[in-house]
């Protein structure tokens, strides 16, 4: 059974604190993703990673950084938490699709963790 776990379901931090959100997957997936979800805005991609030590900016990377030292673990870091970072944070992983000259070209579904509801006061 596929599994993505996140370190906390609920977290309360103070403005200016450094915050670490951890995500672990046990499916040997190459890709890992961090999203935040806010009412009316849907899911927005913060960062993603195609491989160990690789990272790519998503749509809203400002104020965040990530770390991927091992294939199964992807960490999201809020260097100095601010109140506008209060949100639900979702981690996901997926297999890497075929690309380039090969056919068929495949996209795989992402599997999500349970989410971390972060409140910054």
């Amino acid at each position: 059974d596929v599994k993505v776990t996140q370190s906390s379901r609920y977290l309360v931090k103070r403005t200016g604190e450094k915050v670490f959100l951890e995500c672990v997957q046990d499916m040997d997936h190459e890709n890992m993703f961090w999203y935040r979800q806010d009412p009316g805005l849907g899911l927005r991609l913060i960062y993603f990673s195609y491989d160990v030590k690789m990272k790519e900016k998503g749509d809203i990377p400002e104020g965040y950084s990530v770390s991927r030292e091992k294939k199964e673990r992807f960490s999201l870091i809020l260097e100095s938490a601010s109140t506008n970072q209060t949100s639900m944070y979702l981690c996901a992983s997926s297999s890497q699709g075929l690309r380039g000259g090969g056919f068929p070209q495949i996209s795989y579904e992402q599997y999500f963790g349970p989410g971390t509801r972060l409140t910054v006061t």
Binding site: G42, L43, F48, Q96, L98, S107, Q110, F112, P114, G115
Partner: protein, 115 residues
């Protein structure tokens, strides 16, 4: 530009009614994948289905069915004989494999099934 539109923000139906959730996508790519996810009140997104652009066959899985129509760029989701446990937020999504492994999500439709 690539985009997924779920025009229905919120729907309420009485239990046992059928309900269809609309999804319209935009892309100029010929190879793409479409997805539906369910997010129950517990918060975890659950993958429901994946279809590729070359397979327009409709799919049925129990009370769930999906209608993919390239002519209208739509990938609609129907729940037959709805149940209270179907209450959730449902997301339609699009990916373009020859570009990257990102998924573009719609804003979601919140479905309330009333007992």
């Amino acid at each position: 530009a690539q985009k997924v539109t779920q025009a229905q923000t919120e729907i309420s139906v009485v239990e046992k009614e059928d309900v269809t959730l609309d999804c319209v996508y935009e892309t100029r790519d010929t190879t793409y994948y479409l997805f539906w996810y369910k997010q129950p009140p517990s918060g975890e997104l659950v993958f429901l289905i994946r279809r590729n652009s070359f397979d327009e066959q409709n799919e049925i899985s129990g009370r769930y069915s999906w209608n993919f129509q390239k002519s209208t760029s739509s990938f609609n989701f129907t729940i037959t004989a709805s149940q209270v446990v179907d209450s959730a937020v449902y997301f339609c999504a699009l990916s373009l494999p020859h570009r990257d492994d990102k998924i573009i999500f719609g804003k979601g439709t919140r479905l309330h099934i009333l007992p």
